[in-house]
């Protein structure tokens, strides 16, 4: 094959869809401004003793830490369950059990999250654990479904050529299928994280703590400021995590896709 490259292909940019600096900075700046406005508003008010108890830095940070723990633990559990499960359910031997398995996981998402949390609290008593279980049940489906879709959309000819060259099934999975499924799995993870940050708020109803406590306390004490602080912090946190997950999505997408 001596005739060289008359059929030269298109030369594409090294990576499509890279954000501009302004694009990178927009969200963090917006969130910082929001927090600053919130802080200034709280500072400018004369706080009642009930508000002081809730809105001091130590207490709010405690709520934030609990919230992050709920989100992080449940998301890690979801990853640990849903990704291996998605891999198993896309293997040829599991073809028969795939539809019933999906139905089971669908139940978790179909039940309203508040109902699930309360039910679990009745079964397991109140606290951190039932809240985590509820969050896991609620977000396992998007990650599982995306893992399966991600693995299934890998071109069959790519897998066949890999097998045909003598790659083992395991190395086809780890070196070909999973890398090619990463963008879609990451999109599922991002969805799960965002849902978890929001739904973790409900943990407050069963004594699991978190920023939801501020919202509940505000209602109970009829102190609107406390509720507003809780709600704004949850929103800022959700947007921040979505932003970070978006960056991770871009960075982890294999080159060449």
């Amino acid at each position: 094959m001596s005739t060289s490259t008359q059929d030269a292909g298109p030369v594409l940019a090294a990576r499509a869809g890279r954000r501009s600096l302004a694009g990178w900075l927009f969200m963090p700046v917006l969130l910082l401004v929001t927090l600053a406005v919130l802080y200034a508003t709280v500072q400018s008010r004369e706080l009642s003793s009930g508000e002081q108890e809730r809105l001091n830095v130590g207490s709010v940070m405690g709520n934030l830490r609990e919230h992050l723990e709920l989100t992080a633990v449940s998301t890690l559990l979801v990853l640990a369950i849903a990704i291996p499960m998605g891999i198993l359910l896309t293997r040829p031997f599991a073809r028969a059990i795939t539809p019933p398995a999906i139905t089971v996981f669908n139940i978790g998402q179909a039940i309203p999250s508040i109902g699930l949390i309360v039910l679990l609290a009745i079964v397991y008593n109140i606290g951190f654990r039932p809240a985590v279980i509820a969050l896991v049940a609620y977000t396992i489906l998007p990650v599982l479904r995306n893992t399966m879709v991600g693995l299934r959309q890998v071109d069959a000819s790519v897998i066949e050529s890999a097998r045909g060259m003598g790659m083992t099934k395991t190395s086809v999975l780890t070196r070909i299928e999973l890398p090619l499924a990463v963008p879609i799995i990451m999109a599922g993870l991002r969805t799960a994280l965002t849902i978890n940050v929001g739904t973790a708020t409900l943990g407050a109803f069963i004594g699991a703590g978190g920023l939801g406590e501020l919202i509940v306390a505000g209602f109970v004490q009829n102190r609107q400021l406390i509720t507003v602080v809780g709600a704004v912090l949850v929103a800022v946190l959700a947007l921040l995590i979505d932003y970070l997950a978006g960056i991770a999505e871009d960075e982890l997408r294999p080159r060449g896709l």
Partner: protein, 397 residues
């Protein structure tokens, strides 16, 4: 079939039945694939040719039967290890989109644990073999290549660990006809040097005739209708199925395998340009042809002249000025197929053969072509009857 001892790959009673299907996809196939040849599996869609090829590297595990590679029974050995000994190219090519061209080509050498320098040198060597500049292409991704380039990389990747055997499933199938023709020619040139044993699947009989040292024409369930050289398949189709599959163009295809210089030229009455009308008339009467060919003083054909032309010509005009122009002129290196084509448009149903100085040599008529087809058929039959069957009669050799 060749002597079994020289078979690179031997298939013995190979069958495959897919779960849930009553009919076997491949039924009791036995064949020897000789070393260093391109063996083509050709047949209509659904005849099991691709399945058969995939049984060889056990991408599809046979239901029964045995596969031998270099005399070693590989039916039960580790299939991953087995596949690393065979190059594999499929129509869709299946390059890894998230890996660079260099990484794609390095796949099998890495599996075999080659060191980095050796892999890198091999990648450069292969890219050069397939006509792509390593400096330019190593770091690119598959999506940055054209279809023809991807196909080249696919072939390079299959050759990466220098396997003796390559399996190719319609490797040029998804490429436009012009690029395909070029890639086929390039591939044949490379094969002349590397002499791999190649199993090549196609549904296109023309591609089979062009690429194959040997062609296996398969019917349903991968039953072999005929397994032979392209020449013999064209001249001596085993049965109606084979002749149907080759199509009505079989003799025409055969005619493009031989040239004018291979056939005996016929004589035609000729006269010089300076000859008189009486001389022409005399020549005409002395022959069974209806016209004479007029040659100039350098023996180049000029005109056809028949009795009618002579009658109508005004008295005293030279023969070079009457009659019809001498068309349908071919040179000795023209194929019989081209010659036949010329002949069909000619006035006297024959083609005038000239040498490279355009001097008249003789003529080829439809009888010559008929005789030559018959002769080729006879020669093949004689060879079939002979004790020793010459090996590896390639196309266009």
């Amino acid at each position: 079939m060749t002597d079994g001892s020289s078979a690179k790959i031997r298939l013995e009673g190979l069958s495959k039945r897919f779960p849930g299907q009553r009919e076997q996809a491949v039924d009791d196939l036995s064949m020897d694939i000789p070393e260093g040849e391109i063996v083509i599996f050709v047949g209509p869609s659904g005849c099991g040719k691709t399945t058969t090829m995939k049984l060889i590297n056990r991408i599809i595990e046979p239901t029964s039967g045995r596969i031998f590679l270099d005399g070693e029974d590989v039916t039960k050995v580790n299939s991953d290890q087995l596949r690393r000994r065979m190059g594999y190219v499929i129509q869709q090519i299946g390059l890894f989109p998230h890996q660079t061209i260099a990484d794609n080509i390095a796949t099998v050498p890495r599996l075999l644990g080659w060191d980095k320098q050796r892999i890198s040198a091999r990648v450069d060597e292969l890219l050069e073999t397939v006509g792509m500049d390593p400096g330019d292409y190593r770091k690119r991704y598959p999506k940055e290549l054209s279809g023809g380039q991807r196909q080249r990389v696919g072939v390079a990747r299959a050759m990466s660990a220098d396997p003796d055997v390559m399996l190719m499933d319609e490797p040029f199938g998804a490429i436009d006809p012009i690029t395909r023709d070029r890639l086929q020619n390039e591939f044949l040139r490379v094969q002349e040097r590397i002499k791999k044993t190649i199993v090549f699947v196609t549904h296109d009989i023309d591609e089979a005739i062009k690429m194959g040292d040997r062609i296996a024409i398969l019917r349903e369930q991968s039953h072999i209708a005929q397994f032979d050289t392209p020449e013999r398949i064209l001249v001596e189709p085993a049965d109606d199925y084979v002749s149907d599959f080759i199509g009505r163009g079989a003799s025409l295809k055969r005619l493009s395998l031989s040239r004018v210089r291979d056939v005996e030229l016929h004589e035609w009455p000729t006269v010089a340009e300076s000859a008189s009308a009486d001389e022409v008339r005399h020549t005409l009467e002395g022959s069974d042809k209806s016209a004479v060919l007029v040659l100039d003083d350098q023996q180049r054909p000029v005109q056809w002249v028949n009795a009618d032309h002579l009658r109508r010509a005004s008295h005293g005009s030279r023969v070079g000025e009457i009659g019809l122009p001498a068309d349908a002129v071919v040179q000795p290196n023209a194929t019989l197929s081209d010659t036949l084509n010329e002949m069909l448009t000619a006035r006297y149903s024959c083609a005038i053969v000239v040498d490279s100085d355009r001097a008249y040599q003789g003529i080829v008529d439809i009888d010559t072509i008929n005789e030559s087809v018959r002769g080729m058929r006879q020669a093949e039959q004689d060879r079939l009857r002979g004790e020793t069957v010459p090996d590896g009669q390639g196309v266009g050799s």
